[in-house]
Structures are given as C-alpha cells and as structure tokens.
C-alpha cells in the first residue's frame, strides 16, 4: 500500500512537471514569438542604429505609392537646371532643363525649345550658351503666398532669367539682361509676381560698353531690374520692364517686401569700397581685401512702386544695351532725387537679406560679421518720409543712419548668411564659418539654439519659408562642403543637403542627401497640394510652348508627307509601338520638317524620337506634338527609333530616313 502511494506520488509529481512544462511552453512561446516590430528592432540593432537614427529613418521613409507632403525646387547650379525634390523623403523627382540642353527631355533638340534656349532678347553671344550658373529659384506668389503656377530662376554667369511653367514643369522663356553680364540675387518676386527682381553683381559699363578700370567710378554701374511678368501669357514682357541704375557697389541678394513693407525691395551690396582688383605687379589689393576694407556696406532700399510710377510718367530713359536690345532705366541721379533708391549701412560684406513673414523686419547676414542685423521697415519708412538722412554717398543717394533704421543685432556666430522663418515666430539663420544653423526668436532677438551641420552651410530653405505664412516643420541646410559624409567619388565632392526637423522645441538633423549636380545655391519649398501639374497634355496635338492646340497636330489616319519645293513636311503620329510613317524618303539637300504627335492618353506613355547621325532626340509626352527640322545634307540610310521605353515591342518602334543622293 505504501509502495503504491509512493509510486502515485512520483507519477503525480512527474505529471505536474510535464503539465508545468506544457503550460510554461505556452507562455514562453507567446513571449518569444515575433511581434510586428521585432524584425525592425533586429535590423536596427544589427546596423547599430540608436533610437534617434531609427526615428529619423521613420520620418523620411515613404512606402511605395505614398507621396511627399512638400516639394522643393532647388537650383541645379552649374548644371543650368532645376532639381525637384520631395520633402521629407528627399527623393529626386525631376531635373527641369532650363539653360542647358537636356537630351532625355529633348530640350534644346526640338525646334521650338531650341528657340527658348536661345532666348527672347539675347545677343548672339548669349544665344549660343550651353551652360549657366543657376542660383535662386522663386515660385510665383499671390498675396505673398506661393501659388505653384510658375517658377523663375536666374543665371548668374550671364545675367539671364528663365520662366518655367509648373503645369508641365518645362521652361518656356529665357530673357537676357541688356545692361550687363552678371546677376546674383535672381530671381526674387514681388508679392503678386508683378515683377521678377534681378540685381546685377559685378559692375560693368552699362549696356555692354567698354571702359577701362581707371574709369570704374565714373562709368561702371550696377542695376536692379524689375522684369514685368504677364501671368496670363506666362511670359516676361521686356517692353514693360524697367531697371533702377545703381552705383558699382556689387549688388548681391534681394528680397521683396510684403504686407507692411509691400512696395519696397531690399538688396545687399558688398563692394562699397569700389575695389577694382589687383592686376599682376600692381600694388592694388586683391578683391577679397579691397572689397572688405569697410566695416559697413550699403543696404539698397528700392521703392519699386514709386519707380513704376516714375516710369509710367516718362521718367526713365531708354537704354539700348547688349545686342541692341532696349530697356527703360531710371538713372541713378533720378533714383536718388526721387528717393526711389535709398541706402542704410549694413555690416561687413553682407550676403543675405530676408524679409520676415509679416513684412516688418528685414534681416541681413553680414558674412564677415557675427550678427543677424534686423532693420525695421517702420523706421525706414519714417526716415524716408521725414527726409531724415545722415548724408549722401558719392552718387547722391541718401543714407539713413544705421541707428535710425536698425531694430536689433542678434549675435549668432561666425559668418551668418541667410534667414528663413517658421510659424512660431522663430528665425533660422545659416552660419557659414561655424557650420551651424542658428535658431533665434523674432521680437525677443535672442539666440535659442545652434545645430551643427556638415559642412559650411550656404543657403537655407524652409517649408513655405519665404511667404507670409511659413509652415514650420522642415528646414533644409544647403551645405557647400560634404568632406566625409559620403563614400568618396574622386576629388570633386557632392554638395550636402541636410533635412532638419524643426517641429519640436529642439532642431533635429534627420537626413543627408548628396547633390552631385552642380552647386545648388537656393531652394524653395512649397506644399505639394498647391501644385497642379498635368500628367498628360490636356488634348492630343498640344503645343507645349504656346500651351494650346497645335495647328500641326496629326490625328491617327491623317499622317502624310508633303513636298513643297525643297522642303519636305512630315506629319507623323507615335503610338505603341510604331511611328507613322515609318519610312521617309527625301533627296540630299532637302529641308525636312517633322511634326510628330503622340496620340497616347495614358500616363507615362512618352515616346522618344532619336535620329542617328543628326544629333536629334525628342521626348514627346502623351498628347504633345514634337517638332524637329534639319537639312538632310548627307545621303544614306538613317534609322530612327523610339528612345523612351514604351511597350513590349519598343524595339520594333523604328523606321528609316532614306536620303537619296543628288543626281550628278
């Protein structure tokens, strides 16, 4: 009996043990089974990512098909293009061809956009350019807010301005400034895009004339041009534009006033010394010494509304400039006398000028100073109204005393440049030498925080940051040097755009984006839903330059070849997967004019047209009419084909241009 009890106890114990194991395995099984984020945590651990890094990755990652909240338009620097980037994903969406031929887009190869590239009013020298130093894009504005309709951008190297239509993200016009060859603060827009502002940079004799440097003060001049923009036509009208003549002080960046400062524009300058550089063997100082001798240069305050009135009353003279093109210019003495142009001192070779969202404050970064200097528009207006000036410069321009125009100087660090704003009353200034973004409070004039960036920040862009109503959320540091941020790719390093989250109390560096396409200078960030681009052209047979139906549109079944003397007109269509006609026969020496209509209506159904031997490649988007003309001066057989992958039988979308030799 005792034995049975003992065995029972043992068996019972074993049973309890087994049960315990079973229950335990159930519990443990639930704990160790993979939760939804466990795999993510494993990856983070394997990649040695700390929680901050994981948070940053989550802020920028966009699953397939999810679109960005903001779009950034950045200058493409020396590429002569504009880069379109999604924020916060930092994905590159497009390079808009502007001043440089771009074969994928067919820009500079289509007969119509070749004319765009040559410019509306460009002299023969500038009409042949194939590069540009694009600097400052400006989105068109309505009541001081980005309206997403147009984009403007300047070419510093050649004093040109381009107009880009944001319905199809394509360049429609380039204008050349007849007064000189360089600009810098271009482009900036007045609050309803009435005008696009373009100041010169390196002073030259007006209109492209010759004068030796010994006559610098007498003959060299700057200009601040106000290009009239006809929004309905989508074009700059040079005949309605005007310029204000300025002293040869090397004008720099500009910004237009808004709200309280509406009607004014503000431009820096940094060579009030009028240094003329150092010829070999000369005792003259170098430009970088000569142009930084003075503690102060002049902030140019331009009353463009008054200038407009003076021009309307005939107060401007018509200057025949470079290439014989004309522009109305308000002479310097008139500008000074009428107080259209007034100066106030600004510290130490300044670079950036930025107007606050309410228009009350004008912030200047003195690149060799340590402050953001804040001017009050109220004080400036009072001084002008009362004629309260401390004197005049050599050219008779009245000068408002520094003490009568400045509101505050915020000490922020070494090498302040540009300032943008958020929606909580903060300003963010880029600080070049120290490589930081400095956050300070408007009104308090107090520095709150400095965030290190990598390296040597130039411009800074904020979401809706140049408007009357910035969004906050994001700022992008446009850094000049990348040094060690990315894998080495030879001695020429990319630039580094760094995305910064400004939504919290502290700034947070979130993402590094290499830019290996020229040196971008400035960028603007717009809410994506303000942009309404087409995804196909509105009708089949569309002329994207005129933004209307083309008279050369060809419907399916109406394709034809017509000979008129020595010119052969080809009215063709393109559809998956053939061109009609596929065979084009001409004689040596014929001029060939081709209109190719892409009759597709599906998104992304773009066809290319590449013609071997003739340097031709078109990009014909759905609905578009592509236009090419050339002289068939070489006898032979030249294949053409669709150069944009379009369909399963894309390779079969080809044809032959047969050029019969001249009869001897």
């Amino acid at each position: 009996m005792v034995k049975i009890k003992k065995v029972s106890k043992v068996l019972g114990g074993i049973g309890l043990f087994i049960a315990g194991l079973f229950i335990g395995s159930l519990i443990l099984g639930n704990i160790t089974a993979q939760g939804p984020y466990d795999r993510a945590l494993e990856i983070a651990k394997a990649r040695q990512l700390n929680p901050d890094a994981v948070e940053n990755a989550l802020k920028t990652y966009h699953p397939t098909g999810v679109l960005d909240e903001y779009i950034m338009f950045s200058s493409g620097g020396h590429s002569g293009q504009v880069i379109v980037i999604g924020i916060p994903s930092m994905r590159i969406l497009k390079y808009i061809a502007v001043f440089t031929p771009e074969p994928w887009q067919g820009y500079g190869f289509d007969a119509e956009n070749k004319k765009v590239l040559q410019g509306t009013n460009c002299d023969p020298l500038r009409a042949k350019l194939t590069w540009a130093d694009t600097h400052h894009p400006a989105i068109s504005e309505t009541n001081g807010d980005y309206d997403g309709q147009f984009l403007f951008i300047g070419d510093k190297a050649n004093a040109r301005i381009a107009v880009i239509d944001l319905r199809d993200f394509e360049t429609k016009q380039i204008v050349c400034n007849p007064l000189g060859y360089s600009n810098h603060g271009a482009a900036f827009v007045t609050p309803n895009s009435e005008y696009i502002i373009e100041p010169s940079q390196y002073a030259v004799p007006q209109g492209g004339a010759y004068a030796p440097l010994s006559e610098y003060e007498k003959k060299y001049r700057g200009f601040i041009t106000f290009w009239y923009f006809d929004r309905k036509a989508g074009r700059i009208i040079p005949e309605k534009s005007f310029a204000v003549e300025a002293p040869p002080y090397w004008q720099d960046l500009c910004d237009a006033g808004k709200l309280e400062s509406y009607g004014f524009a503000f431009c820096n300058s940094f060579n009030s010394e009028m240094a003329t550089g150092k010829p070999l063997g000369s005792p003259n100082p170098l430009f970088e010494v000569g142009a930084s001798q003075n503690d102060m240069d002049y902030l140019h305050i331009v009353n463009w509304k008054k200038a407009e009135e003076i021009v309307a009353k005939g107060g401007a003279k018509e200057v025949v400039g470079i290439g014989g093109f004309k522009i109305k210019v308000i002479p310097l003495d008139v500008a000074a006398k009428e107080r259209i142009l007034v100066f106030t001192p600004e510290p130490k070779s300044p670079h950036g000028v930025d107007v606050s969202p309410d228009g009350k404050w004008i912030v200047v970064g003195g690149k060799l100073d340590t402050h953001a200097t804040v001017y009050s528009i109220q004080k400036i207006k009072d001084a002008i109204e009362k004629g309260k000036f401390e004197g005049k410069d050599k050219f008779g321009v009245p000068i408002i005393a520094f003490k009568d125009s400045v509101e505050a100087q915020v000490p922020i660090g070494l090498g302040p440049l540009h300032t943008v704003f958020d929606n909580k009353g903060f300003a963010y200034t880029s600080v070049f030498i120290e490589s930081v973004v400095a956050k300070w409070k408007v009104g308090e004039w107090k520095l709150y925080e400095k965030l290190p960036v990598h390296y040597n920040i130039g411009h800074i862009a904020a979401a809706e940051g140049d408007t009357v109503s910035p969004d906050g959320k994001w700022v992008v540091a446009l850094n000049k040097w990348a040094i060690d941020r990315f894998s080495p790719v030879g001695p020429l390093h990319p630039q580094n755009f760094q995305l910064i989250d400004i939504s919290g109390d502290k700034m947070k560096l979130v993402y590094d984006m290499p830019i290996p396409l020229g040196e971008p200078h400035y960028a603007q960030i717009i809410k994506a839903d303000k942009l309404k681009p087409w995804t196909v052209y509105p009708e089949v047979g569309w002329d994207p330059i005129k933004q209307a139906k083309s008279p050369y549109a060809t419907a399916l079944g109406k394709e034809r070849i017509e000979r008129k003397g020595k010119t052969v007109y080809v009215y063709a269509t393109a559809i998956r997967s053939h061109f009609t006609p596929e065979i084009i026969e001409v004689e040596e020496g014929d001029k060939v004019v081709m209109y190719i209509t892409n009759v597709e209506r599906a998104r992304d159904a773009t066809h290319g047209f590449a013609l071997g031997g003739y340097n031709i490649n078109l990009s014909i988007e759905p609905g578009e009419v592509g236009f090419v003309e050339f002289v068939a001066d070489k006898p032979g057989v030249f294949p053409f084909y669709c150069s944009e992958f379009c369909s399963a039988l894309h390779l079969e979308m080809a044809g032959y241009l047969i050029v019969k030799p001249k009869k001897k």
Binding site: S272, P283, P285, L286, E288, V289, G290, S292, Q293, N294, D295, M296, P345, P347, K348, L368, D369, T370, F402, P411, G413, L414, G415, F432, I433, E434, S435, K450, P452, H454, Y455, N456, W481, I483, D484
Partner: protein, 129 residues
C-alpha cells in the same frame, strides 16, 4: 561638451569684440592700426582655439582619419601664411606705409578666417566641435 562650448563661445566673443560698428574708413593710420590690432587679436584667438583642438587629440585623430587630416593640415597651412602676412603688415606699419599696412593686415585677417573655417571643420569631423 564644456570644451566645445568654451571654444565656440570664446571664438564668438572675440569676433564680437573685433567688429564694432564704426562706419566707413579711409586708408588712414587709424585704419591701418585698427586692422593690425584686429589681425593680432584674431591670431591670438585662433592659436588658442588650435591649442584646444590639439589638447582634444586632433593630431592623433588626424593620423587615422584622412578627412580630419585634410582639414587640419589645411588649417595649419592657412595659419602659417597668416603669420607671415601679419609680420609683413607690422613692418609696413612701422615704416608708416598705412595703406599697404591696412591691406596686408586685412589679408592676414582673411587668412585667419580661412584657418578658422578649416579648424571648425576639422574639429567637427573629429567629433570635437
């Protein structure tokens, strides 16, 4: 952390002292002496900051990290040029050649600004700034 703050604060403070707003200058003795003082004060500041980076171990880091080395060597190069130019400026001022002295001192200061830019980058790349 304190070291980084001290470096930045001392740099910023000295730069603030160096640039009071005083209007447009002619190429006078006053201008030349002002530029000479500016350059000398900046040199002292730059050398102090460079010393702090050396104490922070930048020479060792530079031996291992080519990016840091590039920036640091560049900073030292600019410093050397700045000292030469400053000596030249002092000689010119001693001879009463005010315009040349002013320009030379300005140039020395510009070289120090370049030195400072590279030093900041070196320190940042080394994790010291």
């Amino acid at each position: 952390m304190v070291g980084r703050l001290a470096i930045r604060t001392s740099f910023a403070f000295c730069f603030l002292l160096l640039f009071h707003i005083s209007g447009v200058f002619a190429q006078t003795r006053e201008d030349a002496e002002k530029w000479l003082k500016t350059a000398k004060d900046t040199l002292a500041l730059v050398e102090k900051t460079a010393g702090e980076l050396v104490q922070g171990g930048i020479e060792n880091i530079a031996q291992k990290d080519p990016a840091v080395k590039g920036e640091w060597e560049s900073a030292k190069g600019w410093l050397s040029l700045a000292k030469e130019e400053l000596k030249k400026a002092e000689d010119l001022c001693a001879k009463g050649k005010w315009a040349e002295c002013s320009h030379s001192a300005n140039w020395a200061w510009q070289l120090l600004v370049k030195c400072a830019t590279q030093a900041f980058n070196a320190g940042r790349a080394a994790g010291l700034k």
